[in-house]
């Protein structure tokens, strides 16, 4: 029976002082006792509204009941059927604005810790002896997936389960997309990602790295001589945005993409054992306040910065980072400069960053995004001493594929246009989803788009028979 407890069972976390100097995971994960204890809080609602909050519609009460009953294998099976990346989503989803926001327990108490439980089940499964998966790829039509980020991985998993031979093409030397180069080890350990990808390859999904569709192989070749019947584009939003303020090309200014890629993909934290360096001074200013900005500033602390600073033109009410990331950043000593807008990066004679000139802001009327518009306070300019500036103010979709593919339509933001809010693009049998369509959003929305696209591709291919 459900048990009325006001508080969530807390997530065991590593000590903030210790963890802010290494890359081991911050959240340690529930043990079996925590998990069962927390699972008992679920009300088993007739109308499970939490599911409406989940972009991949995980049957949440179903898996949680199995946890409460100690049937972890059953819980794992339920999860995996609806979400091919549970160990990832359990770690990086913004549950507080999804399933947990809808949770009925949350009306009066703290909501059930759905995310922590999802992670627990996935980790439990990871700890079990490997099982043989006998998945028959008996469909005649081959599907190509462009990009191995969350959208592509989920789409591939869903299609493989339906019996389609699927090949993922990845531009970088390792699969995972933003899960690999963007999200740091301390939030998503790469062995967890490797394990999730391994589950997909066990289903028969083939992954080819170092192939850039549009450069190495064209879209027409994929659908022509290579014999793919359908293509899913999950190329994400990987093009960094710069502010266009003076001094942005000084030495020591990075895009968050570059900074994080150097560490996460190229292992610059292990330089000179790894060959790629990253330049980090004592004082690092990260511009922006989304999840990527939090990842960046916390990474900066871990690679040697003494002061990690968030500089954001709005206030903490308007930031887009997950509550947990903000909270962890505070614990680790990150300094927050709210209502502060950078207007120039200052450098010395040799071109190295020495400061960040900012202006103080105040909040005005709501803007198009519904958030209060920040307005500069006249005469409030000041200079912050910094050694590095990292811009984390958003990404746009990469135009590379569009430039070389005829018949693919995009909008003025460079996002692919899809028909009727589905996933079919302007080109027949070519589908798209995730950040490539929506612009930069979350892992789980991309995963959801990948899942929906798989269903549409299946329908499209069945209609052709």
């Amino acid at each position: 029976m459900p048990v009325k407890r006001v508080q969530k069972t807390p997530m065991p976390e590593r000590n903030a002082v210790l963890r802010s100097h290494d890359f081991e995971e911050v959240n340690e994960g529930y043990g079996i006792a925590h998990a069962k204890f927390e699972a008992e809080r679920c009300l088993r609602c007739q109308d499970a509204v939490c599911i409406d909050g989940c972009p991949v519609s995980v049957p949440i009460p179903d898996f949680i009941h199995r946890v409460a009953a100690g049937d972890m294998r059953g819980a794992a099976n339920v999860l995996r059927e609806s979400n091919p990346l549970p160990a990832v989503c359990g770690r990086v989803c913004p549950q507080e604005v999804q399933c947990e926001e809808k949770c009925s327990v949350g009306v009066r108490f703290k909501p059930v810790a759905i995310g922590y439980l999802e992670r627990f089940v996935a980790d439990w499964e990871m700890g079990q002896p490997p099982t043989e998966i006998n998945n028959k790829l008996d469909r005649a039509e081959k599907v190509a997936i462009i990009g191995s980020g969350p959208a592509g991985l989920v789409c591939a998993g869903e299609l493989a389960r339906l019996g389609y031979p699927v090949t993922i093409f990845e531009a970088l030397h390792a699969p995972g997309g933003v899960l690999r180069y963007g999200i740091p080890e301390f939030r998503l350990p790469k062995d967890v990602l490797d394990w999730e990808i391994e589950q997909l390859t066990k289903l028969g999904v083939e992954i080819q790295c170092n192939i850039i569709i549009g450069k190495t192989i064209t879209m027409d070749e994929l659908m022509g001589e290579m014999g793919f019947s359908a293509v899913f584009i999950g190329t994400g939003a990987g093009l960094p945005t710069f502010m266009g303020i003076p001094g942005e090309n000084l030495n020591g200014v990075y895009s968050a993409n570059e900074f994080l890629t150097r560490v996460n993909l190229m292992h610059a934290n292990d330089f000179p054992n790894a060959d790629t360096p990253v330049m980090v001074g004592k004082r690092v200013a990260v511009i922006g306040a989304g999840n990527t900005a939090m990842d960046t500033v916390r990474t900066a602390l871990r690679v040697g910065a003494e002061h990690g600073m968030i500089v954001y033109r709005r206030s903490d009410n308007e930031m887009t980072a997950r509550v947990e990331e903000h909270h962890h950043a505070i614990e680790e000593g990150v300094e927050f400069h709210w209502l502060t807008n950078p207007i120039e990066v200052l450098g010395d004679e040799e071109g190295w960053v020495t400061g960040l000139k900012c202006v103080r802001m105040q909040l005005g009327e709501p803007d198009a995004s519904g958030r209060a518009r920040p307005v500069p306070i006249e005469g409030s300019e000041f200079v912050m001493d910094v050694d590095n500036v990292v811009l984390s103010i958003g990404n746009k979709p990469n135009p590379l594929l569009l430039q070389t593919t005829k018949g693919l339509e995009s909008n003025k933001w460079g996002c692919l246009v899809v028909r009727d809010e589905g996933s079919e693009t302007s080109k027949d049998h070519v589908f798209a989803g995730g950040d490539a369509v929506t612009g930069a959003a979350t892992v789980i929305l991309a995963a959801g788009a990948g899942k929906d696209a798989a269903a549409e591709i299946h329908k499209d291919l069945c209609a052709n028979i």
């Binding site: 170092n210 192939i211 090309n249 030495n251 895009s255 890629t261 360096p277 071109g351 590379l400």
Partner: protein, 283 residues
């Protein structure tokens, strides 16, 4: 992965490789590059495609051993694999002007002129290749380059072959009407100071000039922005917008400065590699 089919030393620090990379060879066009990684935890570095053979499915690349990764590359032998290779990247070279085209190669940059000048010659342009180095022994690919152009001009600082002096000196002579005569367009590939000097000469003579910029890169697909350069007061990504830019619009000072960003770390990395080798030697 790509297997090394041929390896040939050109100078003590420069080697030519022919590698088996049919997918890339099929798409490669003059001026494009690949990104390679030689070992796990190794760097990703861009290398210009010197030549390609679509039918044989091979790429020719020339590597000068200057840093950790290029030195690791130099240790690869025929039959061994390049761990990762991806491409072709960047925009192919486009020279709108027809007529007398002079391709200038400094140091190992000369290699990049191979397929480039052959294509221009096939288009019907009058082609001159001008290569420069400190001394005769450091001039590379003379035979191969002779075969892809109408005139080959050699320049050495010490006068041991061809013109005595920098390529810019000989270029000025051509502009003044000597030898094959005034160029209608110039493309320069090589060390930044050489490209900058060429640019200054051609700017005065008002000759359209392209240079091939080689800033630091990670992904090579526009994702990191590390390769940003300022051209005509606009920020461009050399990996996707380049590598060729209008020489007279390039902010060379910034490009030179940005390429020196990791000088200290590069030395540290070299030292680390040497330590590793010593340790292996002892065991």
């Amino acid at each position: 992965m790509a297997t090394i089919l041929e390896k040939r030393p050109l100078t003590p620090v420069t080697k030519l490789y022919k590698v088996d990379a049919p997918l890339i060879a099929k798409k490669a066009q003059p001026g494009q590059f690949v990104i390679v990684r030689v070992r796990h935890d190794g760097e990703r570095i861009p290398l210009t495609i010197a030549d390609y053979d679509r039918e044989a499915g091979t790429l020719t690349i020339v590597v000068q051993e200057v840093g950790t990764t290029t030195r690791q590359f130099g240790e690869l032998e025929v039959g061994e694999e390049i761990l990762d290779i991806v491409g072709p990247l960047g925009m192919p070279l486009e020279i709108p002007v027809e007529g007398h085209i002079v391709g200038i190669g400094g140091g190992f940059g000369a290699a990049a002129l191979l397929c480039l000048m052959r294509e221009l010659r096939a288009r019907g342009d009058k082609t001159t290749i001008m290569i420069g180095a400190r001394e005769k022994e450091l001039l590379i690919l003379i035979d191969e380059l002779t075969g892809v152009c109408d005139n080959l001009e050699l320049c050495t600082d010490d006068g041991s072959a061809g013109y005595k002096g920098f390529v810019t000196g000989r270029l000025q002579e051509l502009i003044d009407g000597d030898g094959p005569g005034r160029p209608d367009s110039v493309v320069a590939i090589g060390p930044m100071p050489m490209m900058r000097a060429v640019s200054e000469v051609t700017a005065k003579a008002e000759i359209a000039t392209l240079v091939s910029l080689d800033p630091l890169m990670i992904d090579g697909t526009g994702m990191c922005g590390g390769c940003r350069v300022t051209v005509n007061n606009e920020v461009k990504f050399a990996c996707v917008d380049g590598p060729f830019f209008d020489a007279h619009q390039v902010d060379f000072e910034e490009a030179v400065r940005r390429n020196k960003m990791y000088v200290k770390q590069e030395q540290e990395s070299k030292d680390r590699t040497d330590c590793r080798k010593l340790a292996v030697g002892q065991s």
